[in-house]
């Protein structure tokens, strides 16, 4: 317990008017850990996620990246600390080519020629080299997801946050994504928000379940998936 966790939240709270979307969440992620966040619609996963990335300014509590508070920082400041983010709806540059998209991500940390090489490498790793010259706005949803993933991977961030990475992907693309996440986890810490249980089964080790803005349960994936409480919140339990 000497090294601080790469990511920690203490009593993280996000209110929208009277609605408490995230309610006092304490969350810890160790270096090189892979964590999946699941939970039904409206559980607060995405709001929690946006507080981590600086897209939302938390109403209370703290977010610590390697022991230093980043709560309320702008997203560019958090990104500069070494956090790469894939948003829920692919956030890409629709009017630019795939290569330009990835290059823009690579060039912040790599000057000149090196940026071109990093761009090619990232496209290769994600498997989009064959569409490098196409305009992103014309691609299918799954391909746009991969483009965004390549943008996240290119600067080699220490912590990677993925919000619903498998949405809209074909089976082949999901296979590639699973391999990629496993490969990334050798060097990077990851947080993956996902709905798709099949997908969670394939990648997860530890799972955190969100429900009504708080952590319902946290544990090994095999235990979580048979947990009665988890099943209840997902299926809508009858008994209250």
């Amino acid at each position: 317990m000497t090294a601080p966790p790469i990511l920690e939240t203490r009593g993280l709270t996000m209110r929208f008017g009277g609605v408490v979307a995230v309610n006092g969440v304490d969350f810890r992620l160790q270096e090189a850990e892979l964590r999946c966040l699941i939970g039904p619609n409206g559980a607060g996963k995405s709001t929690f996620f946006k507080c981590l990335t600086g897209q939302l300014r938390p109403s209370g509590g703290d977010v610590l990246f390697r022991g230093r508070s980043v709560a309320g920082s702008f997203s560019h400041a958090i990104a500069r600390r070494g956090v790469g983010t894939k948003t829920q709806v692919p956030s890409v540059f629709d009017g630019l080519s795939v290569r330009d998209n990835v290059w823009l991500a690579a060039v912040r940390v790599n000057p000149g020629r090196l940026a071109d090489k990093t761009t090619d490498d990232a496209m290769q790793r994600v498997g989009i080299s064959h569409i490098a010259d196409r305009i992103v706005g014309q691609l299918a949803h799954g391909q746009r997801q991969l483009v965004e993933l390549a943008m996240v991977v290119a600067p080699e961030p220490d912590l990677i946050l993925l919000d619903e990475p498998a949405a809209g992907m074909t089976d082949d693309e999901v296979d590639r994504l699973v391999d990629l996440i496993k490969e990334l986890n050798k060097r990077h810490a990851l947080v993956v928000v996902e709905h798709d249980m099949q997908f969670i089964r394939r990648v997860a080790k530890t799972v955190t379940v969100f429900h009504q803005g708080a952590i319902l349960v946290e544990g090994d994936v095999a235990d979580i998936l048979v947990d009665a409480r988890v099943r209840d919140v997902y299926l809508g339990k009858q008994a209250a």
């Binding site: 990104a79 983010t85 956030s91």
Partner: protein, 398 residues
């Protein structure tokens, strides 16, 4: 082939610019040369908005403010200094500084695009009102009376650097204006090709993503806004040297005109707004002569320009450059023997029939954001409304 097209375009633009630069003074009369100087200074103004609106996505209604500020700064400083060289430098520096101040409050205050337009418009109207009422004796800066709605008819003409009193001839002012226009045009091109320029374009495409990649969008927007202000100031300087400065430089018609040039020429290009500017100025001048003609006295140039704008916004929203590009593409298609005779069915399946590498020819279509429902998990299928929240979110995003 397509890789050489941009280069070819640059060469054509450069040759056209040089032809005007060296050809026109040899043949044209002074009246025409002065008119062409005004066109060139307006074209620089058009480029200032083409850069910040077309590439950075900042819709500024306030380019007229920087334009007027540049002109007035030059006139006031030149009258006081005697030598015009320093005044010319100030004519660029003062609007740039003003743009930096205004931009700082707008971008750091996270003002949204619409309010940015309102604020810039208001600023130019305030300046217009202010300068208009400076007729009294008390409105004199050094030896320069501001002159109220009359402006400063005694605006000095540029002299050769270091030789006060030796004024440039109209032909020299013309050469300077056109030379600067060429420089500004290629300067903007070069700027957009740099890392800085590419990030600026990325901000136009998706500012949130630029932030998530670790760039502070505010700094980039501020710098490009300041460059736009400086260019508008430069344009005001050249305008002051071909006419003289007056409050109309700050007026609403000027603000509106700049936007019309950019829309008609083509937003997101540099050459488009220059062409749009020159064509609209030619049209305006021609309409101005019309009321001398019997039977056409009722023609109001502003009304005609308004109609032209409406027609363009409705029928040619991407402007003349896109129209020209589409026409060339259409002609190519008609002329190439392979494509002929295959009819409309071919077009419909265009995107799928061609290889994935051929992106230039495939028709632009909305990104396909539909989700396959096949990989819904048993758990999520149990809940009816659980159908991939991302799907609903994606579809509801404009």
């Amino acid at each position: 082939m397509s890789r050489f097209l941009p280069l070819l375009g640059n060469v054509v633009v450069l040759l056209a610019g040089l032809a005007v630069l060296f050809g026109l003074p040899a043949y044209a009369e002074t009246y025409l040369i002065i008119n062409a100087t005004i066109f060139a200074s307006f074209a620089i103004l058009a480029l200032s908005l083409a850069l910040i609106w077309g590439y950075a996505g900042i819709l500024s209604f306030g380019q007229a403010a920087f334009f007027g500020l540049g002109g007035y700064t030059y006139a006031i400083a030149a009258i006081n200094f005697g030598d015009t060289t320093g005044a010319a430098a100030l004519a660029v520096a003062v609007p740039a500084l003003f743009a930096a101040l205004l931009g700082y409050f707008m971008f750091w205050g996270r003002i949204s695009d619409v309010y940015l337009g309102v604020i810039t418009l208001t600023v130019s109207l305030i300046l217009y009102r202010f300068v208009n009422q400076t007729a009294g004796e008390e409105w004199t800066i050094g030896q320069a009376p501001l002159g109220g709605f009359n402006g400063i008819p005694a605006t000095p003409i540029l002299n050769w650097p270091g030789r006060p009193g030796e004024q440039l001839a109209p032909e020299d002012i013309f050469s300077l204006a056109v030379g600067l226009l060429i420089l500004v045009y290629f300067g903007c091109k070069a700027l957009l090709a740099t890392r800085f320029g590419r990030i600026v374009v990325a901000i136009r495409e998706n500012e949130a993503r630029v932030g998530l990649l670790g760039y502070d969008a505010r700094i980039y927007k501020l710098v490009v806004f300041v460059i736009g202000g400086a260019l508008a100031g430069l344009s005001g300087l050249m305008f002051a040297n071909s006419v003289f400065v007056s409050p109309t430089m700050f007026s609403l018609p000027v603000s509106g005109q700049i936007i019309i040039w950019v829309i008609i020429g083509g937003l997101g290009t540099l050459i488009g707004p220059v062409i749009g500017c020159i064509l609209m100025q030619l049209l305006t001048n021609w309409l101005g002569t019309l009321n001398q003609v019997r039977g056409f006295g009722w023609v109001d140039p502003n009304l005609v320009l308004g109609v032209v704008l409406v027609v363009f916004v409705l029928l040619v929203p991407k402007g003349l450059t896109a129209l020209a590009a589409d026409t060339v593409r259409w002609l190519k298609k008609r002329l190439s023997p392979r494509e002929r005779g295959e009819g409309g069915a071919h077009r419909a399946s265009d995107g799928r029939m061609r290889g994935t590498n051929d992106q230039t020819e495939s028709p632009p279509r909305e990104p396909d954001r539909s989700y396959p429902s096949a990989n819904l998990s048993p758990l999520s299928r149990g809940e009816g409304h659980e159908q991939r929240a991302a799907g609903a979110a994606a579809r509801s995003t404009p």
